[in-house]
């Protein structure tokens, strides 16, 4: 094929392709490249044709025309291609323009967004470290802790103290060491985990819900608080009104009452009262008319009337305004309660005594009020803020008259002490309130009479010795604190501790002891001492209903019993010590003496008390009893709780043989050589066991005489024993003689016949 043809065919093919490509190049980028290729190809073809034309001048016309034709075609094709290309370029340019605009818009937007992003990132960064102080505080508060720093400090302290395993009660609480943890714990109620972080935005909703619920709760609480406040305000107002009534109206009324009662008082009361004059006259006339039985009933009625009228005097009522003033003063409430209790008791006793209802042995409501003239309750101001309630008792009024008459007046005073005259001896019990301890203390002031005053209030009720602070919670707290201090000051010398003990003792001496009964009388509700609880429990287990209920009546009864017993004991010990061998025969309580037992009937004892001495041990006395040449040493140990715990006697012969049964179990090497005397043992058993034989149960005062009664029986029993020995030794063991002993234990048949209580015990 000739090249021209080829070129035509190629041109045609290119044109066809171009035609085809024109439909596709508009939409397809690849078409553009194809178009460019076709253009290049057409251009090449044209250039080739032009080159051929220029190089072949000698060509024939046919060839020339063909060449021109092909060139023209090629040129036309080229033009068309150029046009297409131009169109396309134009389209592309438009598109590019549009795209550029879009790109510019996008880049602007991008810049804005970048800026915003950076801004927000900065904001987030700045807020990431933001400390929500209020939330933190609230979280600590909700968790019941103060703050992380405090916790850390305390944790460090604990670590220093070596307490590694500090049990804080909750494991989660222990994990919380930072504020973040605290907030997390507060918001999520769980221990800190990675998922449960309040800074984690995913928890935002939950946090919001939690906070909202809390806010609602708080708002309700605030509402309640405001309501309570308003109520409190109302109550304050009411109180103001009532206190106004108390402060103004009552004193006014009391004054009116006192004023109204003045005339009555003048009429009935006092030695110079009209009524008393009348009564004296009546009394005198009653004496004169004593022989007339008809007037006896009238006298009794009159007496009753007078007694009833005397109740109107009711002198304590005149102290009511004073008491009211006390209530208004700064007297601590417990002391005021105590004062009112004691003063009320005194009123009750005085009133009941006037109408003759006051009988210690009566079991009714009015019975059991015991008292003594001279009983007084006063309030003193020790210092500016320190108040004291003083219960004054007259010892001479408490001690029965038979004590003074039997043992003499000297008995009631301690010869070694510079106490006032026995008749005027008094005893004060000072009650003071300690705000720090929250308890009432009681101290005895016995005017230097040690025999009575020392340990007077100890164990007034079983196991209430005042050794433990009744305010148990406070005492426990104090103990813990002291222990802590002791641990912290572990290296300090013991001198400090000694000083503290001395100081404590001095303080104790100054303010006395905090007995449980003081707290009960003061209205302070503390649990009773442990031993008391145990005792009560034991008793309930044993089904024994007996238990002393502490009340003013019981306290006064116990107190007066104790004073009476102490004073009687002091008197009789003093009497025995003073009189010695001149104390024979040993006096016994008048109630236990037989009316018919005149001196003639009373058996004469050869055994006599020789001496009575006090051993170094404060509560141990030794009585030396003599009978002819024989001597008996009787030692007695007296408890502080005499006579509730009666004296224990032990007897010893002059040869050293004792009456105390010492079995092999309690035999020590020291007394292994001591002989045992069965006869003395029998006497010991008698005086130490048969205690009811030494008292008259109807007369309470006889219990105080147990010691001297026991001594009297020891002397008489020993005398019997010795006389039996004498009779046994004598050769006069003839038949028909009344037997002296009986049984395998060689018991004396007439044991107790020489006792001063023989007649009493046999109901004679």
């Amino acid at each position: 094929m000739p090249p021209a043809k080829k070129r035509r065919i190629a041109a045609a093919a290119a044109a066809a392709e171009l035609a085809e490509s024109t439909t596709t190049t508009q939409t397809n980028d690849s078409a553009q490249s194809k178009l460019l290729q076709q253009h290049q190809h057409a251009l090449d073809t044209l250039l080739q044709t032009v080159d051929q034309l220029s190089s072949s001048n000698k060509l024939d016309n046919n060839n020339l025309s063909e060449s021109i034709l092909s060139s023209t075609l090629a040129l036309a094709n080229l033009k068309s291609l150029q046009r297409q290309i131009a169109l396309q370029v134009e389209t592309q340019a438009n598109q590019s323009k549009e795209q550029r605009v879009k790109v510019e818009e996008c880049s602007l937007l991008l810049e804005n967004l970048t800026y915003e992003r950076n801004y927000l990132q900065k904001e987030i960064q700045s807020l990431e470290g933001w400390k929500a102080d209020d939330l933190e505080k609230m979280a600590w508060a909700e968790l019941g802790r103060t703050s992380a720093t405090t916790t850390k400090r305390s944790t460090n302290e604990m670590k220093e103290l070596g307490e590694e395993d500090v049990d804080m009660g909750d494991a989660t609480t222990n994990d919380i060491t930072t504020a973040e943890d605290a907030i997390n714990a507060y918001l999520f109620n769980t221990a800190t985990t990675s998922s449960m972080d309040h800074r984690n935005p995913t928890n935002h909703t939950a946090i919001l819900q939690k906070l909202q619920s809390d806010i609602e709760t708080r708002s309700s609480l605030i509402t309640q608080l405001s309501q309570s406040k308003s109520k409190l305000k109302e109550l304050h107002q009411k109180r103001e009104e009532l206190s106004g009534f108390l402060n103004h109206q009552i004193p006014k009324k009391v004054k009116e009452l006192e004023k109204g009662a003045e005339s009555l008082n003048a009429f009935f009361g006092g030695q110079d009262g009209v009524w008393s004059d009348l009564w004296k006259v009546d009394k005198r006339s009653g004496v004169e008319k004593d022989d007339h039985d008809d007037n006896d009933d009238d006298d009794l009625k009159k007496k009753k009337k007078v007694q009833s009228a005397n109740m109107l005097i009711n002198r304590p009522s005149f102290d009511r305004s004073k008491r009211f003033q006390l209530a208004k003063s700064n007297l601590p409430p417990p002391l005021y309660v105590l004062y009112v209790q004691l003063a009320g008791y005194k009123d009750a006793w005085e009133s009941l005594e006037k109408v003759g209802e006051c009988d210690g042995n009566k079991s009714n409501v009015l019975g059991g009020y015991v008292g003594a003239s001279g009983m007084e309750v006063t309030v003193e101001k020790n210092t500016e803020s320190d108040w004291r309630v003083v219960l004054s008792l007259s010892i001479s009024a408490i001690v029965p008259s038979e004590v003074a008459s039997t043992f003499g007046k000297g008995g009631s005073s301690n010869s070694r002490s510079s106490s006032p005259a026995p008749g005027q001896s008094s005893l004060s019990i000072v009650f003071s309130y300690d705000k720090e301890d929250g308890v009432v203390y009681a101290l005895v002031d016995a005017d230097g009479n040690k025999d009575v005053g020392e340990g007077l209030l100890g164990s007034l009720f079983p196991d209430d010795d005042g050794s433990t602070l009744p305010n148990v919670s406070l005492s426990l707290l104090k103990t813990e604190e002291e222990e802590d201090e002791a641990e912290s000051d572990g290296g300090e010398s013991s001198n400090v501790a000694m000083d503290n003990t001395v100081e404590e003792k001095t303080a104790e001496n100054k303010k006395g002891k905090a007995y449980y009964w003081c707290q009960v009388l003061s209205g302070l509700n503390f649990p009773p001492p442990f031993n008391m609880i145990d005792a009560v429990t034991d008793q309930s287990e044993k089904d024994t209903p007996f238990a002393i209920q502490i009340c003013t009546k019981a306290v006064m009864r116990q107190l007066l019993r104790r004073i009476r017993a102490r004073q009687t004991l002091s008197s009789l010990v003093d009497f025995l010590g003073r009189r010695g061998q001149f104390a024979n025969p040993i006096p016994i309580h008048p109630k236990m003496k037989c009316d018919d037992a005149s001196d003639n009937n009373a058996p004469t004892l050869k055994a006599k008390l020789q001496s009575w001495s006090k051993e170094e041990d404060m509560k141990r006395y030794v009585a030396t009893i003599k009978r002819k040449s024989a001597t008996l040493k009787a030692s007695v140990t007296i408890s502080d709780n005499y006579p509730a715990e009666p004296p224990v006697w032990s007897l010893q012969n002059e040869d050293g043989s004792v009456g105390t049964a010492s079995s092999s179990q309690n035999n020590s090497s020291s007394n292994a050589d001591v002989l045992f005397d069965a006869s003395l043992h029998r006497i010991e058993c008698h005086v130490n066991q048969d205690l009811n034989k030494f008292v008259c149960e109807d007369v309470e005062a006889t219990f105080d005489w147990v010691l001297i009664h026991q001594l009297a029986d020891i002397i008489s029993s020993w005398d019997e024993l010795m006389s039996a020995k004498e009779e046994g030794n004598s050769a006069n063991k003839s038949k028909g003689q009344e037997r002296i002993r009986k049984g395998k234990d060689r018991k004396l048949v007439g044991f107790g016949e020489k006792s001063p209580f023989f007649w009493y015990r046999n109901g004679l």
Partner: protein, 392 residues
């Protein structure tokens, strides 16, 4: 094996609140108590005996100062007896308890203030078999009471029987009383009083009341009595005739080379003798074959050796029964209330006011040893061969 009863008291240890809370009164036992509980009434055990074995099991029976007969299982002795029988009112003392075999039946003879009470032991065993614990009521099958005594002046005061002894040969029961009638002799079968001896005008030998009686089975029905007068008297029980009276004090003084004296717990030695004023009494006797041992005390005790010492003393002396000759004697610081022969130890054991058990060689009469004891006062000693046991 020696078992000791847990018995003692201490005044100081016991708190006695008789003022506040009179319910807490404590009761005291002078030496021994059959019951340790505070609420119980304690008493002194004056007599004890082991029952005959029944299918290898024995019981310990004791009588107390408050009229109780208490029975313990000898294998496991506890503070509480398994059976208590109130034989008399609480104010009457029981002094002695014996087991006798009469007409093929075991009888329990208890004596004391109410006289002699004879029980069937089988009744006790039935109660034990029926698992009856505590107090039971048993009536005695026979009661023997002494004569109303001219020495007992107080109205209603009983004359006590301090000790009893049974003679199986003639089925007689002997009981020594606290009055001048001395020893009573009852026919157990007819339950009638046969006679008295030792206190009457004709054959009176014992000047005071009697502590102990012992019947020795031989041809003459030998009966020995001992008492407050310090004499051991030998009687022909069949004819109630006096054979011989041995005054312990005189015998010991005569044979002073055979008597050893204890001085201040430093051992035995030196030859002394009782002074005239010594008031000896014989409290108990026991024998091993032909050897008789007696213990007692002296009240005034102003003996030569202990002039500066205590005014009480005790003694233990042995005699050869067939010849009635003094063998040996020993004077101690404490008086003795009981003596018993222990087969297992082959020795006499005595107890008294010293709170100790003293062991005496049965052949020589020498003190071989002492043992501490829980009670400080011993009134009775009983030995059981099987199981080997001794109670004080």
């Amino acid at each position: 094996m020696i078992r000791l009863s847990p018995l003692s008291t201490d005044f100081a240890a016991a708190k006695r609140f008789f003022f506040q809370g009179s319910t807490n009164e404590y009761s005291y036992g002078s030496s021994s108590s059959c019951k340790k509980s505070r609420t119980s009434t304690s008493g002194t055990i004056f007599g004890s005996a082991f029952s005959p074995a029944r299918s290898g099991k024995t019981y310990l029976v004791a009588c107390t100062s408050n009229g109780l007969i208490c029975v313990w299982d000898s294998i496991c002795i506890s503070a509480e007896p398994i059976i208590r029988v109130q034989a008399s009112t609480a104010d009457k003392v029981l002094y002695d308890v014996q087991f006798i075999a009469s007409s093929g039946e075991t009888l329990l003879v208890v004596s004391g203030d109410p006289g002699i009470l004879v029980y069937k032991w089988s009744a006790f065993l039935n109660a034990i078999d029926d698992l009856i614990d505590g107090n039971i009521v048993l009536e005695p099958i026979a009661k023997f009471k002494p004569h109303p005594s001219p020495q007992v002046m107080a109205f209603g005061e009983p004359v006590e029987i301090n000790c009893t002894s049974y003679s199986a040969l003639d089925n007689m029961l002997y009981g020594v009383a606290g009055d001048s009638f001395g020893c009573y002799q009852w026919d157990l079968e007819s339950e009638k009083l046969v006679g008295t001896f030792g206190g009457g005008a004709k054959n009176r030998c014992n000047g005071d009341y009697l502590h102990h009686v012992m019947s020795v089975p031989n041809n003459n029905n030998l009966v020995l009595t001992a008492g407050e007068d310090g004499a051991i008297t030998f009687w022909n029980g069949k004819e109630r005739k006096l054979i011989e009276t041995i005054n312990v004090q005189d015998t010991m003084n005569k044979n002073k080379e055979s008597v050893s004296w204890q001085i201040q717990n430093k051992g035995f030695g030196s030859t002394h003798q009782w002074s005239n004023g010594s008031n000896l009494w014989v409290s108990c006797m026991d024998r091993k074959g032909d050897w008789l041992a007696a213990v007692g005390g002296s009240e005034s005790g102003n003996n030569v050796s202990l002039r500066s010492g205590p005014n009480t003393a005790g003694f233990m002396a042995t005699w050869h029964l067939p010849t009635r000759t003094f063998n040996s004697g020993c004077v101690t610081r404490e008086s003795y209330n009981a003596i018993a022969y222990n087969q297992n130890l082959d020795s006499f054991v005595s107890g008294g006011n010293d709170g100790q058990l003293t062991f005496w060689d049965s052949a020589t009469g020498e003190c071989t040893g002492r043992s501490g004891c829980t009670p400080s006062l011993i009134y009775t000693l009983s030995c059981s061969a099987a199981p080997s046991m001794m109670v004080a």
